[in-house]
Symmetry: C2
Subunit: 135 residues, 2 copies
DNA sequence: GGATTTCCGAGCACTTCACTCGGAATTCTA
DNA sequence: TAGAATTCCGAGTGAAGTGCTCGGAAATCC
């Protein structure tokens, strides 16, 4: 997440090397390398090799949501196996008598809409410590 | 969760043994034993020993939320360390420049209100497969 | 006294998470 | 064309969490 926000902050300035991000965000470069691979496979960033190379967001910041990032790194949002995102087929056998499932379904919706409602452009703006708006 | 909903369904019928719950919900009894210990320590259920004993909800079903259960079993709701629930002191050092924190704060609020908005009385009602209401 | 049931602590296989390491391929620059 | 910078790739590791088992002690009822 910090990586993506950092890239968003440098949107329009060409590619950014992981080395630079690692320094600014105080994160291990080798680890970022691994994370960015997943982001690249998900089509959220493009990499350019060689000296002066680096990474750049594949779309403009406001067209990438926190949900995109989370899904790229951690897979579909499903608090329980019986609520596979967008795949009602995998759903649990006990449906009929299991009030519990309603919990995970509502939770899933809630998480997804919270994450999908924040884009990188918003997050990249220099924070004036307000943090969360209610929701 | 299934355990608590099961107890809610038997509210008003005295104590319920884990053996019975395990059979109905098809869950290992020895495992439930361990979970219920945490629920008891959190004051959500009371246990009664001996033959004919069992567990009973400590409060009426509608006064126990899914959030209560989750917190009892998994601790405070905090998607990241920098957003310790109800303890702003533990918050991350980078606050000022880290747009990322807003993500976890909003997510936390969203999760908490989704879970706190469902009580056991609602969940215990026999489901007519509607599952989640939007939210 | 014996059956039932809660209570308690320890342990275990599996997975995930954050992270490291070594090295190959590509690209720019001197 | 050499060498530095950088992405790309696969494998491995330590700590923690999750779902679960096991053995046994204490309480309570008949």
């Amino acid at each position: 997440m910090r990586l993506m926000v950092d890239l968003a902050r440098h949107w329009g300035q060409g590619t950014v090397s992981l080395h630079a991000v690692a320094e600014r965000e105080d994160l291990p470069e080798a680890y970022l390398e691994q994370l960015v691979a997943a982001l690249r496979k998900a089509g959220l960033v493009n990499g350019k090799r060689g000296a002066g190379g680096g990474y750049i967001l594949a779309r403009e910041p406001r067209a990438i949501t926190a949900g995109d990032v989370v899904r790229a790194l951690e897979g579909p949002i499903e608090p329980q196996i019986c609520t596979a995102e967008g795949d009602p087929v995998l759903n649990c056998v006990r449906e009929q008598d299991c009030g519990t499932r309603a919990v995970w379904l509502r939770l899933q919706t809630s998480i997804a809409s919270a994450l999908d409602g924040m884009n990188l452009a918003e997050l990249a703006r220099p924070t004036r410590r307000e943090g969360a708006r209610s929701g």
